[in-house]
């Protein structure tokens, strides 16, 4: 148990909370890589998922693609891209984007595809154009599922960003890799605890956001008078 005490000491040492290798800086890097990854993945996967879900074309391809991407080991891609492209920000971001795409893509696609055909029919019958049907009916109704996929992807990215330290980048994984190199387990422990706290906090924030943007009409089936 003394390791936990040492880890706690590491975390509470004021010296570790300042400077270029301080916890705030590492935290910022960690979140920064994650946000960049998510932004790129969202730009690719959301429009694709919306298009496939709305038109119903290529659904099988999307499910297959998401499944294939899911089975790719991120550490393998990370090391491969680094060898092929050299050190830098892009190789890990590319590997992480490939990690983030499947949950976002399948969440968006399946959310839209699961919207009741009768509802879409009603929207069209009322005189909504295709884009109005998508943005006023399908997306709002599918939003909980879409956001669920995004939340899932964000958690995976936050957790996996830890390994970019393996190719000499920053983030909270830095403490883990450096600690491992010198057999300083307390530092490793501090690092993974920080990552776990970050993940839990991010999940809570995303869950709250999910709740806020979801219309009460989509969850209130229980309180019928």
């Amino acid at each position: 148990m003394s390791l936990f005490a040492e880890a706690a000491q590491f975390l509470t040492d004021p010296a570790h909370w300042t400077g270029a290798t301080g916890i705030p800086q590492r935290l910022l890097e960690h979140v920064g890589y994650s946000v960049l990854t998510m932004a790129i993945a969202l730009v690719i996967a959301v429009p694709l998922g919306l298009w496939v879900g709305h038109t119903g074309r290529g659904g099988g391809v999307v499910v297959g693609l998401a499944g294939a991407l899911r089975s790719l080991p991120t550490l393998g891609l990370l090391t491969l891209f680094t060898l092929l492209m050299g050190l830098g920000l892009m190789p890990p971001i590319l590997a992480l984007v490939l990690l983030a795409i499947p949950p976002i893509l399948s969440g968006t696609y399946s959310g839209i595809a699961a919207v009741s055909p009768a509802l879409v029919d009603a929207a069209r019958a009322m005189g909504m154009t295709e884009s109005q049907t998508l943005f006023r009916v399908e997306i709002p109704v599918a939003l909980p599922v879409i956001l669920g996929g995004i939340r899932n992807a964000a958690l995976q990215v936050l957790a996996t960003v830890t390994i970019v330290a393996y190719i000499n980048l920053g983030g909270l994984g830095r403490y883990l890799i450096d600690g491992l190199a010198v057999r300083d387990y307390s530092r490793m422990l501090a690092a993974v605890v920080l990552v776990a706290v970050l993940a839990l906090a991010a999940d809570a924030v995303l869950a709250l956001a999910q709740r806020l943007v979801t219309s009460p009409g989509l969850r209130s089936t229980g309180d019928r008078p």
Partner: protein, 251 residues
């Protein structure tokens, strides 16, 4: 390919280790989750506890568990058992939730009919509830297995041997082929296990397949959209009939 021909015994060994680390947790996790889920299903106290607990557990990054578990279990940090325990926890996190849903969504009429026919609780569980929950369990198992195979390689970062070792080693020694072999082998294992599970589910759920619907049913369905419900019902009935008549082999 030269690299592979020179190193295939090592690759095979790592693949075996990888397979072991991803499959053993699935088996142990399944054996623990099913009774837990059955206890939690419909239980006012256990259900929220297990469901919330498992979603929280799933939020904790795998690398965190790999590092923290040795401290709790007293194992070495590079021990394979850390990975197995950590991944077992993830499997439980996935399966408990889906199994609770599966048990709770069982048709109450079917269960009451089973009891009325004289099934005792244990017999009813193994004879009726469990087989009916199989489709959902298989779906959960497939997700757990594929994500396990991917997570196992992360252990290589802290020195646990698996196909992930090919990535860390390949990067250190700048051998692209080694990494590519690792990626391909991981994907192959994932695809093969996933398909095996799919087949297993397929053979275990013959009753679920309703057979191919009579061709005219689909034509009629489009013929008059407003009557979709009617023809849909007819389709289901026709399908069920086909299953009875052909012993389910039509699909």
């Amino acid at each position: 390919m030269n690299w592979l021909t020179n190193n295939w015994p090592a690759v095979l060994e790592l693949a075996g280790a990888h397979l072991m680390q991803s499959v053993v947790p699935v088996v142990i996790g399944l054996l623990i989750s099913v009774p837990l889920a059955r206890l939690a299903a419909g239980n006012r106290w256990l259900r929220p506890l297990f469901v919330t607990g498992s979603s929280l557990l799933y939020t904790i990054p795998s690398l965190t568990l790999f590092v923290v578990l040795p401290l709790i279990l007293g194992t070495r940090i590079t021990a394979v058992s850390n990975v197995i325990v950590a991944l077992t926890l993830y499997v439980i996190a996935i399966l408990v939730r889906s199994c609770v849903d599966a048990f709770e969504s069982l048709d109450r009429d079917v269960l009451q009919a089973a009891t009325a026919m004289g099934y005792k609780p244990a017999r009813r569980f193994f004879g009726v509830e469990l087989p009916l929950a199989v489709p959902v369990m298989i779906a959960g198992l497939r997700v757990a297995t594929v994500s396990n195979i991917s997570m196992v390689s992360v252990g290589a970062v802290i020195g646990i041997q698996s196909l992930g070792t090919l990535f860390t080693d390949g990067l250190r020694r700048s051998i692209v082929a080694e990494i590519v072999v690792g990626i391909v082998a991981t994907v192959v294992i994932a695809v093969v296990l996933d398909q095996l599970l799919r087949l297993l589910g397929h053979t275990m759920t013959r009753w679920q397949r309703t057979g191919t619907a009579a061709p005219h049913a689909s034509a009629r369905r489009r013929d008059d959209t407003g009557d979709g419900a009617d023809t849909g019902g007819a389709r289901g009935a026709a399908g069920a009939l086909a299953t009875v008549e052909s012993g389910g082999a039509s699909a």
